[in-house]
Each structure stands twice: as structure tokens, then as C-alpha cells.
């Protein structure tokens, strides 16, 4: 197995028992056409756990999801390990990956309408998934499973929906169809890449409720990618924060909200907070987002960090365990007393 780079080889201890994890991403590195885009991404997801992956635009959330799925574009070089259910996905063959996709691992995307074929009835697309993995299932039975799932994801008149084209459905309905499609072969892990960003808040709330119910009822593990901390904190028990191609923080949601250990998620939290009393303290983050292709020296967040010291610039901080039981990538995590929102 090829390892790209030598950074981030620091020893790390997992808060939980590693073997119990369904998905384990370990020091994942990714370069496309020689441009490094992910460096040192590590997190895990236990069975039935809903993990949030947040970070600003371009921080590499989608690429992380695609790496797990093995759907990276040509020219991508992966390093590190992705262990899913005991299989290393980095070294898995294309055939192996294809067998896993849809059956054990599924992914849904941000633009629900664009992510379904415009000229194929959505039911057919669901049937396609069933037939691809279980060729023996007769078409009628596959359709029945489709109907069942559409009902489960809360679509009214699922039978009619099965014959509908995407342009006849609203964005929320398309997203539900896509979720149904992703679940039709009962995968263990669902990676949801910003499933609600394109939707209206009321519809967004429906989808979030749906995902939570599926996780609760089916024991489905979910990795929820979002840049909206509100959505993530609503749904996830644990939040992994990425910045510029790295995981910078990984903590239980309650801990994160109560007392973030890293300045970046702390700033994000305050930026997404709506408190009428504190509305006019313009909590933003100074500077511009970092580009993973040309990262700053040392701690990648330091140019925008109000708490930076010389040490921050010197070397890339390792991902270290925190007092709260999470992991963080900040040399000052122990000394800083950052404010949460739920204080």
C-alpha cells in the first residue's frame, strides 16, 4: 500500500474501541493530478452512529466522501487507509468497490434533481439498483421494494411517484427518492453530501427528520456532510470539522457546543448562532479560506486565527486527544477557553 507523504504520522489514540467501527478513515491523503487536496483526514463511524463532517467550502468534505466510495476522478492518488467493515477500500479492486456500493455503502448528493436521471422514471432507477446487485429478483418484486421504500421515506402515493420523472417532482421529493434509492439494498453506511443545502428550510427539516428516523430505526450509520453547523448539530452525535484538507477537530456534539477545543469550529459556531441579543456582534472569521493546494505553513488555520502564536506557524500540529474525549489539532487546545453557544 502506497503512503503519500510522511506527515501526520503522529501516533493517535482512538477514543473508542477501533474494532467496533464500521468505517474508519485513517490518515487519508489525496492528490489529484499531483495537487494535494486532502492531507491527514482521520475519523471513524460506529454502526448506527450519525457523524457530521463540517467545514468551509473547499475544505475537502466531498472529496473525503468520494474517497470512501471510490468515486474519485481520474488522476487521483490516495494514501492512508479507509477501512470499511474490515475491508480496506483504498486497496480494494474496482469490482470489489462496485459490489460494495449500493449494498453496503451508499452516497447521496447535494443537488437532488440533478442527481437523478431526467429521462428515466425514478422507479426504474430504483429498480436498476436492485437488479444490479440482486439480478435474480424479478422486476415486479424490485418495484415492490421500491414502492415500500418510497412509502418509508414519506412520499405520498409512492406508486405514482415510481412512474414519475424528476421534472414532475419537487426538490424535496427528489431528495427522498434518492434516499430511497440509496437504501433499497439495505446498506450499512450512508454518506449524505449536503443533502439539504438546496432545499427550503421547511423541506430541509423534513429530510433531517427522515434521516434521523432511518438512523434510529434501521441502525444505519450516516456520515452527514454539511457546512451548516445547525443541521449537523441537530442530527449528529459527533461532529468532525475539516479545514483545508485536514481534520482539525472531532468531538461529541454536546461537547463541541459547550466548549469547542479548536478556534476554527468555535468561530464557525458563533457565525452560525442566531441570538437576537448578540446579533450585532459581527462574529465572522477574518481573512480568506485557505487553498489546500497551497496550504499555509504550520497550522493551516493560523493566518485567520485570533489566538495564534509563533508555535502555530512552526509545524503542523498533530491531532491530539482532548480533555473532552475528542481529538483536536491545536497546539493551544488545553489552554484556550473557547466559548460555545449552549453556555
Amino acid at each position: 500500500m502506497a503512503h503519500v507523504g510522511t506527515a501526520a504520522a503522529a501516533a493517535r489514540q482512538w477514543p473508542d474501541d477501533r474494532s467496533s467501527n464500521l468505517l474508519e478513515v485513517d490518515r487519508l491523503q489525496l492528490a489529484i493530478d499531483g495537487v494535494p487536496l486532502l492531507s491527514d483526514v482521520s475519523f471513524s463511524c460506529a454502526p448506527g452512529e450519525v457523524v457530521g463532517l463540517v467545514g468551509e467550502s473547499g475544505s475537502g468534505k466531498t472529496l473525503t466522501g468520494l474517497s470512501v466510495m471510490g468515486l474519485l476522478p481520474r488522476g487521483a492518488e490516495l494514501g492512508g487507509h479507509i477501512t470499511f467493515d474490515g475491508t480496506d477500500l483504498v486497496s480494494a479492486s474496482a469490482k470489489e468497490l462496485r459490489r460494495l456500493r449500493g449494498t453496503r455503502l451508499s452516497m447521496i448528493f447535494q443537488e437532488p434533481r440533478a442527481s437523478l436521471h431526467p429521462a428515466r422514471p425514478v422507479g426504474k432507477q430504483i429498480v436498476d439498483v436492485v437488479r444490479a446487485h440482486e439480478p435474480d429478483v424479478p422486476a415486479a418484486a424490485a418495484r415492490e421494494r421500491g414502492v415500500e421504500l418510497l412509502a418509508q421515506v414519506g412520499l405520498p402515493s409512492p406508486r405514482r411517484t415510481l412512474n414519475a420523472y424528476t421534472h414532475e417532482l419537487s426538490g424535496g421529493m427528489c431528495q427522498r427518492v434518492m434516499i430511497a434509492m440509496a437504501l433499497v439494498c439495505r446498506p450499512a453506511l450512508l454518506i449524505a453530501d449536503e443533502p439539504t443545502t438546496a432545499l427550503d428550510v421547511t423541506i430541509q427539516a423534513q429530510i433531517i427528520a427522515l434521516l434521523r428516523r432511518l438512523a434510529d430505526e434501521r441502525g444505519l450509520s450516516v456520515v452527514l456532510i454539511s457546512h451548516n453547523l445547525g443541521v449537523v448539530s441537530d442530527l449528529c452525535s459527533r461532529v468532525v470539522t475539516m479545514y483545508c484538507g485536514q481534520v482539525v477537530n472531532d468531538d461529541r456534539t454536546v461537547e463541541l457546543l459547550r466548549r469547542p477545543r479548536h478556534p476554527y469550529p468555535s468561530a464557525l459556531l458563533r457565525a452560525s448562532d442566531v441570538d437576537l441579543d448578540r446579533a450585532r456582534d459581527w462574529a465572522g472569521i477574518a481573512g480568506t479560506p485557505a487553498n489546500p493546494a497551497r496550504p499555509p505553513h504550520g497550522c493551516r488555520f493560523h493566518p485567520r486565527c485570533p489566538f495564534r502564536t509563533d508555535a502555530c506557524e512552526a509545524a503542523v500540529p498533530p491531532l491530539e486527544p482532548t480533555a473532552s474525549g475528542g481529538m483536536t489539532r491545536c497546539v493551544r487546545h488545553a489552554e484556550l477557553d473557547l466559548v460555545g453557544v449552549a453556555a
Binding site: 489529484i32 493530478d33 499531483g34 495537487v35
Partner: protein
Amino acid sequence: MTTTVADPAAKRGGTARPTKRARPHPGLVVAVTVLGALLLAALLAPWVAPYDPLAQDLVNRNGGLSAAHLLGTDQFGRDVLSRLIWGGRNAFGGVLIAVGVTLVVGVTWGTVAGFWPRFTGTALMRLADIMIAFPTMVLAVAITGSLGPGLTTSMVAIGLVLAPNTAQLTRSGVLALRERQFVQSARLSGVPAPIVLVRHVLPLALRPVVVQLTIYTGLAFVIQGVLSFLGLGVAKPTPSWGSDLSDAYSQILSAPLQIIAPGVLLGVVVLCVYRIGDALRDRMSSGAVRTERTEDDVIVA
């Protein structure tokens, strides 16, 4: 005659990755060099061409390649190389006329139609639809057949035939841009409509038109050849690639290799022009303004 086609890369939704954008377009340098050399040769024909393109040597008719005549002589004993060099003037000049006509007529047409979209625009676009309904070649032949053969008429005919496509493209650009927010911002700032048109709309609306016109340049070379081949092109004895090719074809029995030089030359020029068109399209599509895929991308003559 030939169909030209949108470059696929242009239509892809995403922005080009920086690494790819930086790469020079393959073959572009070659294409520009070749075209530039041919153009230069044509411009400098009096000094470059070894012979007078009209000088006949009736003793040495259909002479093969020789040191004196690098590409041989034609049916009237004229030096083929000199004719091709001089022919470049008519070929380039003619194509310039054709593309110029297309540009002026098509852009005016499309701008007017896009700017007064209701009645005038509908009427004008109806006319364009009708003209586009004629197969390009048929219309070109009909117009040239009507006006009588000759360089100018045939080239004006080509220009006119291609103009409605340009009009459509211009109009769709103008229409799309009219609704663009920066145009609205300009109008909110009190900029009068004609100035908005000139300052904001046309420069962008014309970008795809420029690409289209490059493609049409290639097309015009081909149609010029076809019309000459049908006897509707440049009057003899004026040298022009198309009519030289058709002259060569008339000698195909006695001198079958004569068609190669003008034929290959025509093909090379068209290839170079298309290559440049490809490159231009890639360049332009990386900019912010992209119009939707329309039928104009495929122009079939």
C-alpha cells in the same frame, strides 16, 4: 458541406481545473503558424511566388513536379505553386468577405431581434428560421446560381446563408444577457439602454459569435471550394484554391495528381482554422459567460 461542431469541452458545467487551463491547446501553435505562413505568403505573393500566376506556357501543360515548377504546371502550363500562393489572396479575401457579411448582417440582425424581442424580434427570427430551414449548401447554390458566379457574389452568398445562424446566436446571447444582473445593475445606475448594449451586452454576446465565426471561416473555405467545383465560384483565370481544385479535377484524366495540392491545401487550412476555433472556444468558455447549448453549435452546410 461539412458540419462544424461545438467543442465538447466548452459545454461542460464545471470550471476548468487550474492545471488544465494552463495547458496550451494542442496543435494550436502549429495551426497558427501554418495559417500565418500561408496568409503571409498570400500577402507577399508578388515577391514570394516564383511565377506570374496567369502566365501561360502552352508548351509545358500539365507538367509534373520539377525544380523549375515545384508543384508542377496546370492545364495551361501555369505554375501551380504560384497559383496557390496567389490563390491564397482570393481564398482568404473571399472568406473575409463571407465572414464579414455574416458578421455585419448576422450581428445586426440578432442584436435588433434581441433588443426588440417582441414584434420585430419575432419577425426577424421567423425569417432566420426560414432561412435556416434551407440546407445551407442548397441556399448557397441557389443564391450564387441566381446572382451569377464570381468571387464576390459567391462569397456574399455564403455570408448571407450563414448570417441567420449568427443572428440566432447573437440574439440568444443578447436576450440572455439582457436579463443578467450586471445589465440590470447598469440600468439601475441610470445607464441608457443603447449604452448598456454596447458596453455590457455586445462584448459578451459576441464572444460565442467569434467562436462561431471561426468555425464559419473554415466552413466558408469549404463552401468556396464546393461552389467553385460546381462552377459557381471565382471566375477563371483568377487563381483561387477552390477553382484551382475544380480545374485540377477537370484534368483528372490526364494529370490525376493535380488535385492533390489544392485539395490538401484546402483541407489543411480548414483544419487549422477549426483548431483555432477549438482553442478559442475553450478559452472563451472558461470565462464567466456561457450561453446554453443551442442548435447553432452544429452548423451543417
